[in-house]
């Protein structure tokens, strides 16, 4: 750094100097700043680009997960007042029919995610882990569960079959149970 820039001493001076950017000449302040900005800008841009690529890479396009939607037969396969456990093991959903509608409850306790049991005699869902209890509607009434069971989206296909989409959830405490997609009028 402290060495003076060495100039070739024994070379003849050029007659028409075009003033090229020579490595032997010190760079002036203006072009130093210009090239610094360009250089560092490019470096940061490339780094940021790689960062964005890595972030995007972590979000896969295709998931090899079980399907999140299923066909659940026809509405008349469900009796009024009953909790159907037909799809509990396979899809984690209870299908409940009351006098005016059918709704689908997620089989996940809202306390810590265990699977409650339907106690037909006592007319309630009871979680074996910490004793949370839910009414047939899914409303919590005992134990540590802080909120009601969630409901899944339920619609009818064109040929009248029940179609349940588990990626769309409806929470009572957010007032979502009045959403027309959260139940099926029968």
């Amino acid at each position: 750094m402290s060495d003076p820039i060495q100039k070739p001493s024994n070379q003849p001076a050029q007659t028409t100097p075009p003033k090229p950017v020579s490595l032997n000449e010190p760079m002036d302040r203006r072009s130093f700043i210009k090239w610094s900005v360009i250089g560092w800008g490019a470096f940061v841009a490339v780094l940021g680009g790689y960062g964005a690529m890595i972030m995007r890479y972590l979000f896969p396009n295709v998931l090899f997960e079980p399907k999140q939607s299923f066909l659940a037969g026809y509405p008349d396969e469900y009796t009024i007042g009953e909790v159907s456990e037909r799809f509990k093991d396979k899809h984690g959903a209870w299908i409940v029919r009351d006098t005016e509608k059918i709704y689908v409850l997620a089989t996940f306790c809202t306390h810590l995610g265990c699977t409650p049991n339907w106690m037909g005699n006592e007319n309630k869902f009871k979680c074996p882990c910490h004793g949370s209890g839910f009414y047939k509607t899914g409303i919590n009434f005992e134990g540590p569960a802080p909120r009601p069971l969630e409901r899944y989206k339920i619609t009818l296909t064109d040929d009248g079959e029940i179609f349940i989409d588990k990626t769309k959830k409806f929470q009572q405490e957010k007032g979502e149970w009045s959403d027309p997609e959260s139940y099926l009028s029968v």
């Binding site: 979000f59 998931l63 090899f64 997960e65 810590l112 995610g113 990626t167």
Partner: protein, 264 residues
């Protein structure tokens, strides 16, 4: 007998082999400078200070918790590598391989050592922090190293958290379900967190169950194959890599900030 040994050693010190390995050479150490050079010229010895203040070796003062944390970390590294020879991070094999490790593999103790060691490391790191706090060793000029220490504590917790899932039993799956739901409640970045709906243009919601922080962590919408593999890679490669970098800085700064703090 001992004289013969000494003679052998003296002769060995004159060989090219000895001089090639030990850069200081075989000359007898007689001066203070030579003694220092022996330490400085050896990659392993130079990690240690040339001299220590008397209080630094008092267990009553240091509790030796920092050293014990590092020791347990080494034990976990070795047993962890050994476990990797048998454990397969897939939904099909993971749980069975863990059972196999403790019941069928010779010296299946390795898995238990790894598990108890992990618990122990969390305890020693906490106690180390407690000691550093109570002796006021977080004060300048050591405040930077305190912050590095806080990062190391968080990394230790993350190592525990990612390791928690790998046995793939009910405890593991539900614990990570609960833990990752917290990520889903991150403000702005979690689908069920506050402000997630702000990041939407019209009907297009950018932060939903398949694009939020929880999803990035699990590699899926729930704890499954993707999560197991992701946690395995983080536990075995990603986090150890990061934690070692911070450990290098941490140990180096202990020396540069004037060694172990002392009573004033």
């Amino acid at each position: 007998m001992s004289e013969g040994n000494n003679k052998f050693l003296e002769n060995f010190k004159k060989t090219q082999l000895y001089r090639a390995i030990f850069r200081t050479g075989g000359a007898p150490i007689s001066t203070h400078k030579q003694r220092i050079l022996v330490t400085l010229n050896n990659v392993f010895l130079h990690l240690h200070p040339i001299r220590l203040p008397k209080h630094a070796v008092k267990v009553k003062y240091t509790w030796c918790m920092g050293g014990l944390s590092f020791f347990v970390f080494l034990v976990l590294t070795i047993t962890g590598i050994l476990l990797m020879f048998y454990y397969r991070p897939t939904v099909e094999y993971a749980y069975g391989d863990i059972i196999d490790l403790s019941e069928q593999v010779p010296l299946g103790l390795m898995r238990e050592i790894h598990r108890w060691g992990a618990h122990l490391m969390v305890i020693t790191v906490w106690l180390h922090m407690f000691r550093v706090f109570m002796t006021g060793s977080y004060k300048p000029p050591r405040e930077f190293n305190w912050m590095v220490g806080v990062i190391l504590l968080v990394l230790t917790m993350l190592m525990s958290f990612t390791g928690y899932l790998l046995p793939w039993d009910q405890l593991a799956i539900w614990a990570i379900t609960v833990g990752s739901n917290m990520a889903g409640a991150t403000p702005l970045l979690g689908a069920s967190g506050p402000g997630a709906s702000l990041l939407a243009i019209g009907d297009v919601n950018f932060v939903h169950a398949a694009s939020d922080a929880r999803f990035a962590m699990l590699g899926g919408r729930f704890v499954g194959e993707g999560a197991l593999l992701r946690f395995y890679v983080l536990h075995c490669i990603g986090l150890p890599f990061v934690i070692m970098i911070f450990m290098i800085v941490h140990f180096w700064r202990v020396r540069k900030d004037g060694g172990i703090s002392g009573p004033t």
